[in-house]
Symmetry: C2
Subunit: 245 residues, 2 copies
Amino acid sequence: MGKIIIVGLGPGNVDEMTPRARAAIESAEVIAGYITYIKLIPDLVSGKEIIGTAMMQEVERCKQAIDAAVAGKKVAVISSGDAGVYGMAGLVIDMILDLPVKIDFEVIGGISAVNAAAAILGAPLMHDFAVISLSDLLTSWELIKKRVRNAADGDFVIALYNPKSKRRVDNIVEVQKILLEYREKNTPVGIVTNAGRANEQKIITTLENFTAEEINMFSLVIIGNSQTYIKSGFMITPRGYEGKQ
Amino acid sequence: MGKIIIVGLGPGNVDEMTPRARAAIESAEVIAGYITYIKLIPDLVSGKEIIGTAMMQEVERCKQAIDAAVAGKKVAVISSGDAGVYGMAGLVIDMILDLPVKIDFEVIGGISAVNAAAAILGAPLMHDFAVISLSDLLTSWELIKKRVRNAADGDFVIALYNPKSKRRVDNIVEVQKILLEYREKNTPVGIVTNAGRANEQKIITTLENFTAEEINMFSLVIIGNSQTYIKSGFMITPRGYEGKQ
């Protein structure tokens, strides 16, 4: 009987992939994933059957992966970061559980992009935080903006996934304007692009000063809460509120 | 010259600790951390100098770790999960940057408790989520409740750290009441206790039915958004909203 293992690679270098994730990939006969992620681990997938599709073809990729498992193969479905955060886990599990046959599956977590970015910036996530994707492909832009307002009003540290794409360049600017209604202009903002990969870039700036030009589809943006500060080039959020605000 | 490496262990088993984290611990002469975490990795710390303190003594532990680094030693400060999420990273970095001498430091991320719990439950974090600690030691209970309301109003998936301690047993019950004002009674709730460790326990229940008795200080609680569903014992949040709600 086949099996599907849903694996998070972590940021993308093998040094930050867990032994459990690595062993799952090594033992798999078939690797399914967005081709950009497969290219991150050439040595691990060498000689294996690859189901690699371009972005936005997730459903087709899942179907092929499940077909391979039904045919008796051991399949690893890979995502970068953690497969359970804006990754493939939900779709794959749902499709497996709809099958007329029982296929074993397992989810193996990885270091999520927000955690990888935070480690590079210093310690911006030390207190309550909200993770929001700015992609309006499957969620209305109105709901995304409402969430930004809710998170801003609650003084959450805010991590923005998918802050910008080729098609979608204005959302991040609109979010910046909304946040400036709630937070000081000099609120620290950290931008990490290609975290843990070649060409890793780190920018520490402020809510007023950051620009969309510094951000691309491989960036993660972290906006500090009211207590976050910059010290010697590092972004730090304290563990609490002095005087318990 | 000494060095401080701030390391996230991941859930607590060496199979889910990254090679980068493991190498840092192996190369360190001194290990500093809450004694419960040090006990998770006996083989890795054997023979090393240990700065192990009880919980709530973080500042003292950081001071001792920094003293050892100033004295020229290589020190690993460990947290379970990710050191940057309610961990030690912020405090340690802040204290290092205040020193009159320059000490090198590095933050090495780990799989965060929320990601480890999510992988065990299925795929509850597939969409925007808020992470909130119910510990009111350094944050006012009023602000915590406000954040719960903000997150509920924004239809975030909500992950609760520190849901209960010996001293603090009623907060989770109050949060349950608040959430029931915003979400359906049958909203899926996942509770994972000792994720990735011995005695790991998983409960999938609903917002109306979960009880504080099922939760302890080693639990992480994940409350679904309006779209989250339970299927064959797994908790799944879809990647978006059909019809883009």
